[in-house]
């Protein structure tokens, strides 16, 4: 990892601000390894985030980086990509950031099928503000604003963006971080809106309240419940990992470029 750090990190910013055992660092490393494998031009890579613990990621990375407002990362990214489609735009968001306050931008980026590679770091909680429930907190789990257990049901994020029009969806975990890197590469290669749900652990704001004694226990949970499609039937807390859908549809910036060309040709 030390060589990736020298190459892709703003080393003066390390050590990072995340708590001991937090999954954000592991997922950051997986993203960096994917970008390294893709051999992308650092000057053309843009990493955009919202607000939350996970959204602090771009600050540590040596690309064009943009830490926006809570929930709005995809809307900023849409402006970037639409104005300069040759940039490679990755968007990193927390589960609250992307699915609570940012839910509308999420479904609209998916509907437009705009070529962004979005990674939602799902730790099932609002980490940054100290553990309130998010739209991804499982039913019955505890959070400071669900002191009696969460009454609501979480989103099925990948189903939601698929219904909204996204063309690539996949899931991995901090534990399955090599798979995560591979899926990020596939997502990048999909010419359209791609979403990766990266399941992560927040030992401080979620784990403590929900009977996980150590960060390692949370990773173990990920290991045990993340199931590759077809491997075995899903039960209770299990979830699929790997690619979940992969489709084709017109991509927004390409369609817009076609329009420009059409108009250049005098057509209206």
């Amino acid at each position: 990892m030390f060589s990736e750090i020298a190459e892709y990190f703003r080393t003066e910013t390390l050590p990072h601000m995340w708590c001991p055992g937090c999954g954000n660092g592991t997922i950051t490393a997986a993203l960096v390894r994917a970008i390294k494998t893709l051999r992308l031009d650092q000057n053309k890579v843009v990493i955009v985030s919202g607000i939350g613990c996970s959204s602090r990621m771009p600050g540590y990375l040596d690309f064009n980086t943009l830490h926006t407002t809570h929930g709005r990362a995809l809307a900023f990214a849409t402006g970037i990509k639409a104005a300069k489609p040759e940039l490679d735009v990755f968007v990193v968001m927390g589960d609250g950031d992307s699915s609570a306050i940012g839910g509308n931008h999420l479904i609209h980026a998916a509907r437009r099928n705009i070529d962004l590679t979005a990674i939602i770091i799902n730790n099932n909680i609002y980490g940054m503000t100290g553990g309130q429930s998010s739209p991804m907190t499982p039913h019955d789990k505890r959070a400071t604003t669900s002191p009696y257990g969460n009454l609501e049901r979480p989103f099925q994020l990948l189903d939601l963006v698929q219904a909204a029009g996204a063309t690539y969806g996949a899931r991995a975990t901090a534990y399955h971080n090599q798979l995560l890197s591979k899926l990020i590469i596939d997502a990048y290669n999909n010419p359209g809106f791609s979403l990766i749900e990266a399941i992560s652990q927040c030992p401080v704001s979620y784990g403590r309240r929900n009977k996980f004694k150590t960060p390692a226990d949370m990773l173990l949970w990920q290991k045990e419940h993340g199931v590759t499609a077809g491997r075995r039937a899903l039960k209770d807390e299990d979830f699929l990992i790997g690619e979940v859908f992969n489709k084709e549809a017109p991509e927004y910036t390409q369609e817009y470029e076609k329009l420009r060309q059409r108009l250049k040709g005098g057509e209206r």
């Binding site: 600050g59 926006t68 709005r72 402006g79 639409a82 104005a83 931008h105 420009r260």
Partner: protein, 375 residues
């Protein structure tokens, strides 16, 4: 001067943006600003630019900032309710010093209010609508011709000073069609780009100009942009010393340039016992009323701030001892800035908030009334 045309205020604003080199528009429709979006939707793809209709005003403001970071001059237009929604990201653009122009064609408020009627009720909001201290430039045109010219200026200010510039229009000037004669060309400013190599580049440097050079995303200068208080390198910090330096530069960055930024028109001020301070649509009946008053021998003058923010207080302060009358299509907003210079006394108001333009007669009567008290 090119030949005369009939043009609508919103159209003139759009054409001004194009003349200034706008290449990106993100917006969400709202009366009475929508024509600006519609013209952009038609023209931008013809010019290699991009129009995108976003899911809401919040997203529009975000997209505009994103696009501007890539180097595209960027515009959005809205009205009251949408302007309220843009406030968070508007503050973000100011804090991160990303140039862009936001048009607010004011309509009757509060809330949904009177969507198709004029008002000047977002004047204070333009300055104070977002949380936290921040600098602000807002321009207020009172004719179609000025919608064009000020939009060019708005982009120039935005680019030169790396900030948001608000075009504070109103339904009257936005929807008015008027004869205009567009200049062949107007001076166009572009953002100052870094002249140093990427490893020497300090994106938010405490430059003596107070305006650091700005690199576009994708051009080799990799840096970090955040709405958290940040150091010169752009990285977040909570250190009071660094914070203080950053916020000082940010909030004072316009100060050295006030003379160029503060624009106004004046008439008959030399001997005026009463100065009518009016802007935007209200300045139109005021001009007629002042002419009429002068014909009656009343010593009345006009001060029309074109730059509403930063308010030209120093200029106003020169007229200490004169009476002021501030007619506005609101409940009294910019009048407060005149009061801040002199105190309540000697500052009169004339307000109308029913969606109808103040009439020449109303102003003339008020002038007569005020003048009758001037010994």
């Amino acid at each position: 001067m090119s030949k005369a045309r009939l043009m609508q205020g919103n159209e003139a604003c759009a054409e001004g943006a194009l003349a200034a080199g706008v290449r990106f528009y993100a917006g969400y429709p709202i009366t009475p600003s929508t024509e600006i979006a519609e013209i952009m939707a038609e023209k931008l793809p013809l010019l290699g630019g991009t129009f995108i209709q976003m899911e809401d005003e919040i997203g529009s403001m975000a997209a505009v900032i994103g696009a501007s970071l890539t180097g595209a001059k960027s515009l959005t237009a809205t009205s009251g309710p949408g302007f309220s929604l843009k406030q968070e990201n508007l503050g973000y653009a100011i804090a991160t010093e990303v140039p862009c122009v936001v048009v607010n064609v004011q309509r009757g408020g509060p809330s949904t209010g009177l969507p198709t009627s004029p008002a000047q009720a977002d004047v204070m909001q333009a300055k104070w609508g977002t949380h936290g201290d921040h600098p602000m430039i807002a321009l207020s045109p009172s004719s179609v011709q000025e919608c064009y010219e000020l939009t060019v200026k708005a982009f120039n200010f935005a680019e030169e000073f790396r900030t948001v510039v608000i075009m504070l229009m109103d339904e009257v000037v936005g929807h008015l069609r008027e004869k205009v004669e567009l200049p062949e060309s107007l001076p166009v400013e572009n953002r100052k780009k870094p002249t140093v190599s990427p490893d020497q580049y300090v994106p938010f440097a405490n430059d003596p100009s107070l305006i650091p050079a700005m690199a576009n995303f994708g051009e080799g200068y990799r840096y970090h942009v955040t709405g958290l208080t940040h150091g010169e390198n752009g990285l977040p910090t909570g250190k009071p010393e660094v914070t203080a330096k950053f916020l000082k530069r940010l909030t004072q960055k316009l100060d050295p340039y006030l003379e160029r930024i503060q624009l106004w028109e004046e008439a008959y001020l030399a001997d005026a016992e009463l100065i009518v301070l009016a802007y935007g649509c209200t300045a139109r009946p005021v001009r007629e009323a002042i002419d009429a008053a002068r014909r009656e021998g009343l010593k009345v003058g006009l001060f029309r701030p074109i730059t509403i923010w930063p308010f030209p207080s120093r200029e106003i302060a020169k007229y200490k001892g004169r009476k002021f009358l501030v007619p506005e299509m609101n409940n009294g907003q910019l009048v407060g800035e005149v009061e801040r210079v002199f105190g309540f006394e000697g500052v009169e108001r004339l307000n109308r908030i029913d969606g109808e333009l103040i009439t020449v007669t109303e102003i003339l009567e008020k002038i007569r009334e005020v003048m009758s008290h001037v010994q």
